[in-house]
Symmetry: C2
Subunit: 383 residues, 2 copies
């Protein structure tokens, strides 16, 4: 694993300095997500520095083992960090990322649920530093809130999206990826705008649809006593996510407005079609649509994890912008799950070799995805 060297001349601030694999991680914003990440990374042996607007919360974070220590500003926390994570409300992410980049953190990432607008803002504000920023989004959550609910296993087995851009530095990505894998997360690379379009479909619109369904039922309050007893498992399943904290949704809807409106319009059109089929008594039409849905749902995999033997793909990569993002997202598009990834630099500098570890079952798809984008690779079985 390539480890980022010491940088920016920051002084060590305590005796527990990172060893070669032990990173110094800053987390900006110690709520449920930031606190869970802190606990997971400390459990994996890293040093975690916290920063938050609320001193009381920082104190609790130390008591709960979510951070080793805390600093009074983003600049102080991010200075000398190998990786800085921004875990603040989505509309405040870009400014905090810029502050962490300016403080000299070697790699900066975030945990916001929208990626395109954040990348665009950082690109506009600090174009030269974008190589050190890799936007991220862990697909995990909890009914708990705040640092009190922080759970070191929150990310285990969950998908963690990283959204590399053409500017992304391969070493920065590899460092971040390895660090995140130590939380048990399943890291996948997705282009920022595609991420936003897809989460609108699988997360944002489902949340709005569940909330609307719950309100529809709640509006029948005159019949509430009976209605709630008729609400069997299907209704409970469908509306469960509506119970979450409503406070985050105005921000998410503002940040991902375009993709959400477009997915909602598609959903409204498709529901209108179903409504017309019911009204017209079109039985074959209804059966056809519901049969499609049933088949798709039954094909939804329970987990992307794989248990087969692993194979190493070694891909020579030219030192050219965009190559790295291009390769990782191409593999993700084909459904190839990356088990591990590192960058092997040639002794002569310049171009290097991207080493990607995948389950054997993915080799054929990976080779095809790489060939489509004009890359070659060699395949090596590993122990």
């Amino acid at each position: 694993v390539t480890v980022v060297a010491a940088h920016d001349g920051a002084d060590p601030i305590d005796a527990a300095l990172p060893g070669p694999d032990r990173l110094r991680v800053a987390i900006i914003g110690i709520g449920l997500m930031g606190g869970s990440l802190g606990r997971a990374l400390r459990a994996a042996g890293h040093v975690v520095i916290g920063c938050d607007l609320d001193d009381h919360r920082l104190q609790r974070a130390v008591e709960l083992g979510a951070i080793d220590e805390w600093k009074p500003s983003i600049t102080a926390a991010a200075r000398g960090a190998d990786v800085a994570f921004v875990a603040v409300p989505v509309l405040q992410v870009a400014d905090a990322v810029v502050a962490a980049l300016d403080a000299g953190a070697a790699v900066v990432s975030d945990m916001g649920s929208v990626k395109g607008p954040i990348v665009d803002q950082v690109r506009a504000l600090r174009p030269a530093a974008l190589r050190r920023f890799v936007a991220g989004h862990p697909m995990a959550g909890s009914e708990q809130t705040g640092v009190e609910g922080a759970d070191p296993s929150l990310f285990t087995g969950r998908t963690w999206v990283l959204a590399p851009t053409p500017e992304t530095d391969a070493d920065a990505y590899a460092t971040l990826r390895t660090l995140l894998a130590s939380t048990g997360a399943d890291v996948v690379a997705v282009e920022p705008d595609l991420h936003d379009e897809l989460v609108a479909v699988v997360s944002h619109v489902p949340h709005l649809a569940a909330g609307t369904l719950m309100r529809l039922a709640a509006d029948r309050s005159a019949d509430a006593g009976v209605l709630l007893r008729l609400a069997a498992g299907g209704f409970r399943d469908m509306t469960r996510i509506a119970a979450g904290d409503p406070g985050i949704w105005p921000d998410i809807c503002a940040a991902n407005r375009g993709a959400i409106v477009s997915a909602l319009d598609e959903y409204l059109a498709a529901l209108g079609e179903i409504r017309d089929l019911v009204a017209a008594g079109d039985r074959p039409g209804l059966f056809h649509l519901l049969e499609q849905a049933s088949r798709a749902r039954r094909n939804l995999p329970v987990s992307a994890a794989s248990a087969g033997p692993l194979v190493e793909l070694r891909i020579p990569v030219p030192d050219r912008p965009g190559v790295f993002a291009n390769i990782t997202t191409a593999l993700a598009d084909r459904g190839v799950s990356i088990f591990d990834l590192e960058v092997a630099h040639s002794a002569e500098g310049g171009a290097g070799v991207l080493v990607i570890v995948v389950a054997e079952e993915y080799v054929e798809r990976a080779e095809q995805a790489l060939a489509d984008r004009g890359h070659t690779c060699s395949v090596h079985a590993i122990g």
Copy 2:
């Protein structure tokens, strides 16, 4: 418990005749629901006679312990039955109910997911026999299908709706209610049309909405590899019901067309409102709606069951049509959960006393509901 006396002069057909609490039950249609009911009622000590179009299925039902024996026709199965259940596809229910009533079953019920149209059809075809028919709908289901999936605990703790009408005979209702309670179901009385309106909201529209959401995601098949890894728990929860057998939905949509179209129109209007709030960036408006939904979902009770002490309400009931349906549905409207119910006839005949057992916590609400409808009751603590 009032037990219906022998009737219609039907001959006993085997030596295992029912004792005073052991009923002779016919089940018409031995699929998942009919088979599960058969297993549950046999486990509770009743005798179950099956009837189905498919002899092979009847043979399996005997082997699986879902029925004691089978008869070649509805008429033969229902003749001499204390209670006959019709568990056939919803559009075929009314005809089978009429056949069971004509065969002389003392009480006939069904398990269809729509109630108003079935009651209307039976009322039109056999107005005089409607007193012996109490439409029903167990709010239970399974991923399993057919008699092979029959599960005697399918109804345990689940709501079983009975839909009494002004014509319903109190003894018929009490017999049926006691029998169903022996499966572990939580029986609740709801007027037929209100049932249909409410299940459209909590069952039918949610199913169509889940299927549509699943199709929306499946349409992005070009990005399927990534999309499915982004689909976190919320999406899985929301679309789970879409995996069920699509074959039953054209019938349900046909049978409950009016209520479904009307609930879908409300849902479309409410979703359109959300869509406009997102497009307009109306943060307070979005927060308000999602906060309502979150509060309503958090108030959704996990179970209607109660553990407190029980109380008996004794309600003098005049021998007048509609009184009984009026009382049971009034209690359900107020959220009063009925633990047990029986009819005590006066020695002189004519009017009687309806005895309803409820948890102590419901007494005040029950008294108010009864007073609202012009009934008095006396309250007695029970051991």
